[in-house]
């Protein structure tokens, strides 16, 4: 297209720009002079000739600019625009800083939340072809997903035609002895192909080999990367070494890669093969494993589910006692791992998005106001020869500068917010959410932030550009102000404020509902007194010390030693502490009642004699356990109120008997008491039917202890642990926590808390931005109408009437904003129903509270401009123009 030497000549001109300008001006001046002379020769007066020549020549500035554009590089005009934009922003630092901060806030919040969304929902799990992995479990009538029993697992593995491989895992714990120190560590038992199914290769040593998980197999262990580093110094010659777990020597065969994480067993340090069947695994009816499988090529999740359902049906016919009503649950592994956090994250992302929108709208209205005051400047530049395209580019450049600054600030803010949020997750919750480790400023997050900034930029560039494109420049030059266009744009500003108020209402209502849910959750009726309660997990790791009589003796010893500590009011031993899990369930059958093989699922808990009294649980009728309720006496049980209501409606349960599904004589127990419901499972789970047994009847090597303290339970904890450690070196002591910490740190509470705090934070910011926006619009409207107000007053309007007029204008905007906002919040809250606890989406008190809160703030915001309007001096106002 361009001839030879074009680029070189252009480059040469770049360095001779001043000479070029001078020469161009000189020859254009010469041209005009010659023209004028020619006209004079025709008889025109000199002055007239000069003017005519100038007209005939055209706009000199524009010609000069166009000549410069021909020889100039594109970047030069961009640099010019940038310089000009910088000057504009520097001239008005208040505007620049406010706009940048608002944008940084909006971009930062949404980018930070997106970081979590990316890590949890977008980035794949760290397994080979993770989309082909499924979570496989059994299902029962009441529970769509329950553990799988070892016998069922072995049958499913043999019989299925849709899975490339099926493996199982469950949690475990060992007392790890290194030198003279014994420490309890979390572990997982897995079937031999577990890591192979996930597609994970040890970085050191080897994977388990097929058959190594069989009963009586060699004791081998694979280490997590973190454990290898922290406990074994990252030694590369570790493979083949022996390590003492519960006193047994295990051979280390491998070390897992650093990025390996398996959320369902997040805290596991050691991975061992299944090996011997524990008592539960010897029965087909006892479910203690979870399955993970890789689908065969071309098989869908629903095909696999149908296949396993069919097998479950066959097993139910074959083993009616244990398998009646047991089905199969198959879902994508990612769904199982992140399904629960998805609604929370999406809610937060929506909240952050709304905040961003409100920030952009606010900056837009600021720009709108500013463009109003820059109308003359723009008109002058237009008259001096700036083309509309060039003016438009100037706005885009300014918006670009603001957006870039906002983006930079936003990314810094996002990094800060992400690490702050990550630190808010307690360790136990973080272990179940390994994606948290991937929350950082990565390419996805930066691109997201950039995209958001570009959208914000477009919005900001369009507002003033559109605003000015419609106007005719001559009109603005001659005078500006009270034109139809002015009114239209003032209305647009008002409409933008309504949008802001609506968003603020939606966020406030969401925060209100989440806050109320959190309050309800933390104040749910626990059935016991959670304060001043120190708890600790215990296990007897020495297999030679686990006979019932030995364990009873251990309980007695612990009881005596801890009770003797100063500040102890009471203590109790139990199999599971309250507010832990829906777990340890059993099927019951009541003699004399109709039974058709259904599964009457109830929770089981073993408790010591003083446990209920110490907890502060309320005995409704009958008696508590005593020390004498041991295996030398008939088995007795205390049931909770829910169980009494469900299985003994309208009867007195005390004195009744309960048995297992076969009513085997040895399983029969008599109900001796009814206790008010104790919240045993998660806070948001409704109380389930629960049976309590005497700890002394069937002692277990794994147990927990709770101590009621007179003083601070947190201070007492270390002393408790120290005392327990002196009782026996084989006694593992771990998981010490106060009940209040346990409740506040439970995943349910943490998730509710995080979403309530975050949405609350967004809502407060939205409230501030919305109110500031309202103030801005009303104040601007008053300043634009100063003359009108002056006229009104000159004609006799009272100050109070002017005051009312302005308040009415603000009031209208507020009422519309609140009304629309409340309607939308009901829709929005219904969408986040799964996050609410004990609150309905249309909780009138919350909505009313939000409405009045915003109303009050809006009133305050409009009070100042209304006051200013009523103070207008009519004489000055009329003279001003």
């Amino acid at each position: 297209m361009n001839g030879p030497g074009y680029g070189l000549r252009k480059l040469k001109l770049l360095f001779g720009r001043e000479k070029f300008s001078g020469e161009l001006d000189e020859e254009m001046a010469f041209h005009r002079e010659q023209m004028a002379k020619e006209l004079e020769d025709k008889g025109m007066r000199p002055e007239e000739a000069r003017m005519a020549a100038m007209r005939q020549f055209g706009n000199t500035t524009r010609m000069r600019e166009r000549s410069h554009e021909v020889v100039g590089f594109r970047a030069e005009t961009v640099a010019q625009d940038l310089r000009y934009a910088m000057r504009q922003l520097r001239k008005n630092p208040g505007f620049a800083i406010t706009a940048t901060l608002m944008l940084a806030l909006g971009i930062g919040a949404s980018t930070a939340i997106f970081g979590f969304v990316d890590a949890a929902l977008i980035q794949p799990l760290p397994y080979t072809q993770q989309s082909r992995l499924v979570d496989v479990d059994e299902s029962a009538a009441v529970f769509p997903r329950t553990n799988i029993s070892r016998a069922d697992y072995e049958d499913w593995k043999k019989m299925n035609a849709t899975l490339q491989s099926l493996d199982v895992y469950n949690g475990s714990g060992f007392l790890l002895r290194q030198g003279s120190v014994s420490e309890p560590v979390q572990a997982a038992r897995v079937s031999d192909g577990f890591f192979h199914t996930l597609g994970v290769q040890p970085i050191l040593g080897r994977d388990f080999r097929p058959g190594e998980d069989k009963t009586g197999g060699a004791k081998i262990v694979i280490l997590s990367y973190g454990t290898w580093i922290a406990r074994f110094g990252g030694r590369r010659d570790i493979i083949g070494d022996k390590v003492s777990l519960n006193g047994d020597p295990f051979t280390i065969v491998g070390v897992l890669p650093r990025n390996f994480a398996f959320a369902p067993r997040g805290g596991s340090e050691l991975w061992v093969p299944l090996l011997d069947k524990n008592p539960c695994e010897q029965r087909r009816s006892c479910h203690d494993l979870d399955g993970v499988a890789r689908l065969r090529d071309g098989v869908s999740v629903s095909q696999a589910r149908a296949d396993l359902q069919k097998i479950a049906g066959q097993l139910a016919i074959q083993y009616p006692d244990s398998n009646t009503g047991q089905g199969a649950s198959v879902q994508p592994l990612s769904e199982f791992i992140v399904g629960k956090v998805r609604p929370i994250l999406l809610t937060l992302l929506a909240g952050a998005g709304l905040l961003l929108l409100i920030a952009c709208v606010n900056v837009s209205s600021l720009l709108l106001v500013r463009s109003e005051s820059r109308r003359r400047e723009i008109a002058v530049r237009g008259a001096l020869g700036a083309t509309p395209a060039r003016l438009m580019r100037q706005f885009v450049t300014e918006a670009l500068l603001l957006a870039t600054a906002g983006w930079g600030g936003g990314i810094v803010a996002a990094a800060g917010m992400m690490s702050l949020l990550r630190s808010m997750f307690p360790k136990n919750v973080a272990q179940g959410a390994p994606f948290l480790d991937n929350v950082r400023l990565n390419a996805h997050v930066l691109i997201f932030g950039g995209t958001v900034a570009v959208l914000a930029m477009l919005l900001m560039a369009l507002t003033p550009a559109l605003r000015l494109a419609i106007r005719d420049i001559h009109g603005a030059l001659s005078e500006g102000g009270r034109t139809a266009a002015g009114r239209f744009w003032r209305r647009l500003g008002a409409n933008l404020v309504v949008v802001e108020l609506v968003i603020a209402v939606v966020l406030l209502a969401g925060a209100g509902l989440l806050g109320k849910s959190l309050y309800r959750l933390l104040h749910v009726d626990l059935g016991f007194e959670p304060s001043h309660l120190a708890t600790v997990q215990l296990m007897m790791t020495d297999p030679t010390q686990q006979k019932p009589e030995q364990l009873r003796e251990l309980y007695r010893k612990i009881d005596a030693r801890v009770a003797a500590l100063p500040g102890v009011e009471g203590l109790g031993i139990t199999s599971d502490l309250p507010v832990q899990c829906y777990c340890d369930t059993d099927w019951i059958r009541i003699p004399g009642k109709p039974f058709h093989g259904e599964h009457n699922d109830v929770m089981e808990r073993d408790t010591s004699a003083g446990y209920f009294r110490m907890l502060g649980a309320q005995l409704i009728e009958g008696r508590m356990f005593t020390e004498a309720d041991d295996s030398t006496h008939p088995n007795v049980t205390i049931i909770n109120q829910t169980m009494a209501r469900k299985y003994f409606p309208g009867e007195d349960p005390v004195g009744k008997t309960i048995g297992d599904t076969k009513l085997s004589p040895k399983s029969m127990r008599q109900v001796v008491g009814v206790v008010a419901d104790i919240r045993e499972a998660a806070l948001d789970n409704d109380p389930a039917p629960t049976e309590y047994f005497s700890m002394n009847y069937g002692p277990d090597a794994f147990f927990a202890m709770a101590v009621r303290t007179r003083g601070d339970d947190k201070v007492f904890l270390p002393e408790l642990v120290k005392t327990l450690r002196t009782i026996s070196p084989a006694l593992g002591v771990y998981g010490e926590v106060t009940m209040e910490q346990q409740i506040a740190g439970s995943p349910t509470a943490v998730m509710h808390q995080l979403s309530a705090y975050l949405v609350g934070g967004f809502a407060v910011l939205a409230l501030v931005l919305g109110v500031v926006g309202l103030y801005g619009v009303v104040a601007y409207s008053v300043s634009q109408r100063t003359r009108e107000i002056g006229v009104r007053m000159a004609l006799g309007a009272q100050r109070s009437a002017v005051h009312r007029m302005v308040l009415k204008e603000a009031g209208m905007l507020t009422v519309i904003g609140i009304a629309v906002g409340l309607a939308l919040s009901i829709v929005a809250s219904a969408a986040m129903k799964s996050l609410l606890f004990g609150v309905r989406a249309w909780d009138w008190s919350t909505l009313a509270g939000v409405g009045s809160l915003l109303g009050i703030f809006a009133l305050l915001a409009s009070f100042i401009p209304a006051r200013r309007a009523s103070r207008v001096n009519p004489v000055e106002a009329l003279r001003a123009e």
Partner: protein
């Protein structure tokens, strides 16, 4: 205000300048005068727009510029056509003729149809 002038077709200004310079080197004013005279004042352009066009021709290497003294003893920049410019003129002329012919055809067709 002056009467509206017929607008130049885009690109024709370059052609007119080159055509004018074919006969003799001229300064900007001279080029404008010459175009005015040759076209019987029909093609009076906003004369200032010569200058951006001249910069373009200079960059393309179709003309050369030199400061000289005029007959009236004034300093002025004189533009001379280069060999490349002569070639370009040929190209531009044939392009222009093609276009005129095409437009003519369209107009004739439209008349016949109407």
């Amino acid at each position: 205000m002056m009467a509206e002038k017929p607008e130049l077709m885009p690109g024709t200004l370059d052609l007119l300048i080159l055509r004018t310079l074919k006969r003799a080197p001229l300064h900007g004013y001279g080029i404008a005068q010459s175009i005015r005279r040759m076209s019987d004042d029909v093609l009076t352009v906003e004369e200032g727009s010569l200058y951006p066009a001249l910069q373009r021709l200079l960059l393309q290497g179709w003309v050369k510029a030199e400061w000289k003294i005029t007959d009236t003893n004034r300093r002025a920049r004189f533009y001379t056509m280069t060999a490349a410019g002569r070639k370009q003129l040929g190209v531009e002329v044939s392009k222009f003729e093609q276009m005129v012919e095409a437009i003519g055809r369209v107009l004739r067709d439209a008349e016949e149809a109407g």
